[in-house]
């Protein structure tokens, strides 16, 4: 404890804490008005992050709960998430040093703690769940619907409307319900400058910490682990302690009803990094997992493509300079550099390489495959030559199977959990009854599902598709050689394919429309779409997202030629 003042009465420095969180002198039992400020560095569950304020805090409420603030809730969420990451093998410093500090920095910057509360912003003592107070003619109290409409809806409109309508039935006055002290305040203030905390943002925090430590987990992997349940997200409020009662507007904040998207978490992370005024992140070098050369290797393996393609990806990476530490490392707040999506970048490089070698115009790649097939017949060397057709058939088959499984899983997600959620005490009994009925029905129909049991959560795995060289059926293409589609020219092996088509001649202005290009499946060859689809599945992002990145790489790669030949047709000669 850092409270080192001398007691006013007895001049001793011997302080303890009352139940109300105030300092009292152990010698003379003089109670001060100063309340405790959290200064300890470890994350204790009930650490009260609070400013030095004059107000006291009720410890106990009628329902056995105590007062809690929204950011305490988020703190708990983050703690749970980082513990899960630790269980996945992430280094322990992430929790105690990195994430913790980021969080504290955030609290400080957003003036929720560790600072003086700006004057005039006293937290109003808001009514709690059970009472519908008779504060009716306070014109400054925001109406409920107003509050709900202000916040970006995580939940859907129907719940809000029913909530609003049920609320209006309860009382004419617009008292606002939340279990937390500042739930309504949280939703109400214009938080644009202060970057209000949301559930998806917790993942941004995690990713930011992972990036700082340069852990070998990409953002797409992180999000996949979340969906697979290895990282708490969906019903994490279950782990809030009993005393932290969740109801009313808290639900809007902590209950999610959708899985976060890559783009959302990614953009928020960068916003956050800038907001926290973080310095340049540790360099991403060639030996880092996140370096395109490394990630390309990973994705080549996962896509069942020959290892030899790695040479090509490295060449592309080197040529356009995306392997440089300055390009890859995050500098928060620097608006001129493009923010790097390591995983998307890597797969986009692979797509470009495939286009370089196979053209992927729904025509050439099959011809080339036949050529390779012919050459294979006379092939006396060790490994077989890579044939696009065979690869396509094998991978498509597996992809279809996995996609079908994924689609069914998505349809079978269970979103609710045992902990009941209710907006107000009034509809608590209804909620509990409904929950009971749901459980009954689940039991009844679960028995009729036959021998199909709910599969246990699969162990978290970095690879979703795996191919074994030991398979004698030839379904693994890692060791295949590219010689079947290359030719010797001046002592070097070059691609037989002389052509290339650009995905787009002109890039869009990302700041205006949010994208570099606009992908429409029908406008592109099926093979290209297939390849995009494959990586789209692996990364769980939309194909257009990868397409954007491909466009960006192509424009870097053919920069000079584009500049010169922009007037002419889009088919260029290498």
């Amino acid at each position: 404890r850092d409270f080192n003042e001398r007691c006013a009465q007895c001049s001793e420095v011997n302080w303890g804490l009352t139940d109300g969180g105030r300092f009292y002198c152990r010698s003379c039992h003089n109670v001060t008005e100063r309340t405790r400020e959290v200064v300890n560095t470890d994350f204790i569950t009930n650490s009260r992050v609070q400013t030095i304020s004059k107000g006291s805090r009720k410890q106990e409420k009628n329902d056995g709960g105590s007062e809690w603030y929204i950011c305490e809730g988020f703190q708990l969420v983050l703690k749970k998430q980082v513990e899960a990451l630790e269980a996945l093998g992430v280094c322990p410093q992430m929790k105690d040093e990195i994430l913790c500090n980021f969080w504290r920095c955030y609290l400080q910057k957003s003036k929720q703690a560790y600072c003086k509360r700006p004057a005039g912003e006293a937290v109003k003592a808001l009514s709690v769940c059970e009472s519908s107070t008779d504060v009716d003619s306070d014109p400054e109290r925001p109406s409920l619907l107003h509050l709900l409409s202000l916040s970006e809806s995580e939940g859907d409109v129907q719940t809000d409307c029913s909530f609003a309508s049920s609320m209006s039935k309860v009382s004419e006055s617009t008292s606002v319900y939340s279990g937390s002290v500042d739930g309504s305040l949280y939703l109400m203030k214009n938080q644009k400058e202060k970057l209000r905390m949301t559930m998806p943002m917790t993942l941004s925090f995690c990713y930011m910490a992972l990036l700082w430590v340069r852990e070998p987990i990409t953002l797409s992997e992180l999000l996949r682990y979340v969906v697979e349940g290895h990282i708490p997200y969906l019903n994490v409020f279950q782990h809030f302690p009993e005393k932290m009662k969740l109801c009313g507007l808290d639900l809007k904040i902590f209950c999610v009803e959708s899985w976060p998207v890559y783009e959302e978490v990614f953009n928020k992370m960068h916003e956050l990094a800038a907001f926290l005024d973080l310095p340049r992140f540790p360099d991403i070098t060639e030996s880092c997992f996140l370096h395109p050369d490394m990630l390309c290797m990973k994705y080549l393996m996962e896509a069942n493509l020959p290892d030899e393609l790695h040479n090509w990806t490295c060449r592309v990476v080197k040529k356009i300079g995306i392997g440089e530490a300055d390009f890859l490392t995050l500098v928060p707040g620097n608006k001129s550099t493009r923010k790097v999506k390591y995983d998307v970048l890597a797969v986009a490089v692979i797509v470009v390489v495939l286009k370089l070698l196979f053209l992927l115009d729904d025509h050439y790649e099959w011809l080339l495959s036949e050529v390779a097939e012919e050459r294979n017949k006379n092939n006396t060397e060790g490994g077989p030559y890579f044939e696009f057709k065979k690869w396509y058939e094998v991978v498509k088959h597996s992809l279809d199977v996995e996609q079908k499984k994924l689609d069914e899983e998505r349809a079978k997600y269970l979103w609710r959990c045992e902990k009941p959620l209710f907006y107000s005490v009034k509809n608590k009994s209804k909620v509990l009854k409904r929950r009971q009925m749901v459980v009954n029905l689940q039991n009844q129909f679960g028995k009729l599902s036959g021998s199909v049991q709910r599969v246990e959560k699969p162990n978290p795995s970095s690879f979703q598709l795996s191919w074994s060289e030991e398979n004698t059926d030839g379904s693994c293409f890692h060791g295949h050689s590219l010689k079947g589609i290359l030719q010797e020219k001046r002592g070097l092996l070059t691609a037989m394919n002389p052509d290339y088509w650009l995905c787009t001649v002109k890039l869009c202005n990302e700041k205006l429309c949010g994208h570099l290009a606009h992908y429409k499946e029908v406008e592109f060859p099926q093979s290209y779409h297939f390849v995009l689809g494959l990586f789209s599945f692996l990364l769980r992002v939309q194909p257009s997202y990868i397409h954007d990145e491909v466009c960006m790489i192509e424009h870097k790669l053919f920069n000079k030629k584009l500049y010169k030949k922009l007037k002419y047709n889009t088919v260029l000669r290498k």
Partner: protein, 412 residues
Amino acid sequence: SSNEHKLNFKKSKEACLSYIQDALLQKQWNRAAEFLTCYVESLEKDYSREHIGPSEIIWRIGTEILWHHSQSSMKEFNCFMEQMKTLGVKRYLKVCLEHVFHLLCNGQIDEAYQNLSLAESWRFGEQTAIQDKEMKLIQAYRGLLDYYSWSKQKKILLEHGEDGFSDLAVEQEMHGYFRKAAVNLKEIIKIPGVWDIFVKCYVDLLEFYGDHNEARQVLNEYAYNSKFPANPNAHVYLCQFLKRHRESKKSLISALKILHDIVPSHELMIDFNTMLQKSKKRKKRQLGLEVIFAALDYAGWKENAKAWSCLARQVKQIVISEKHLDWIKQEWSSRKDWWPAFHFSRYLAKRNWQENKNLSYEKALVAGILLGKGCKYFKYVSHQGCKAQLKRFRMLKKFVNRHSSVYLRVSG
């Protein structure tokens, strides 16, 4: 925007629902149950804006699965239905009613009756008034079951009557059921709707107790009240009633005429034509011709020897009298393009001859008159008939030869 691709609760449950629907269509009850288990948590969300909410969906799908699944018992089914009744008060009576239907399908008449009585006594504030229609249906079905009990008692009574025993208790019970049934059945048929079974039962009761006037009134209302949806059966019931009670020909004919307008292919058209042919009025006889031609437009009548004999008789009669050939011309003008292929092909001639000589005889007469003696059908059949040395075919041949120019006059 990227938000469209976000997987959220709503989309996830929509996908779940389409998997359930696929499984149901393919009768994969296990799979349907598996996905329904994941769907039921939709109940915890509010869908008050949607047209059909999850509680209704779960009720309907759950009913289907439990009804068909091999491992599901009636007990489980009933238990589920009871849960569904508590789920939506706005649907309470509907669920009760459907539950009753299932019980009836399963032969559990007594349970069905109990459920109906229970439902009838249900009261729930303003909902009772809102669900008034369902309540009437419930009462009507209870009336129906009362009718069923009544007819059982009636059967017992008649059997005893044969033996010479009269059972006062049974009789009293029977009358009791009649009263209960009559009250409810009478109520429902006042409301515009399709109430075939209720009407039939009610009329049966009235007839038994001799109240023919009331019965006739009920049937007239059912058939002629424009507020009621058009229903051929209503006219059929009326016609059957009029026939049973040998009512005036006039009312019977007008009822049958309406039936002809609505359902030209109805089986009563034969009787109708027979009646009309006998009429002294010209218009009626012409109508008769119209009726029989119209009936034979339908594939279901193609092989009906009786229908063809009616047509043949009338055609013959017209040809012999040499009056009113224009009637035939009128009827034939819209049919001459397609009836030959439809009825009088060579293939049909062979088949009809093989399968049904009466049929081929009647058809040959009509064909010979309408298409002339050179037509394929007539030639084949008459040739075969003469070969087989059947007298009537020889007569037929003579007849058609004698009137061989008629076809020219009717073809126009």
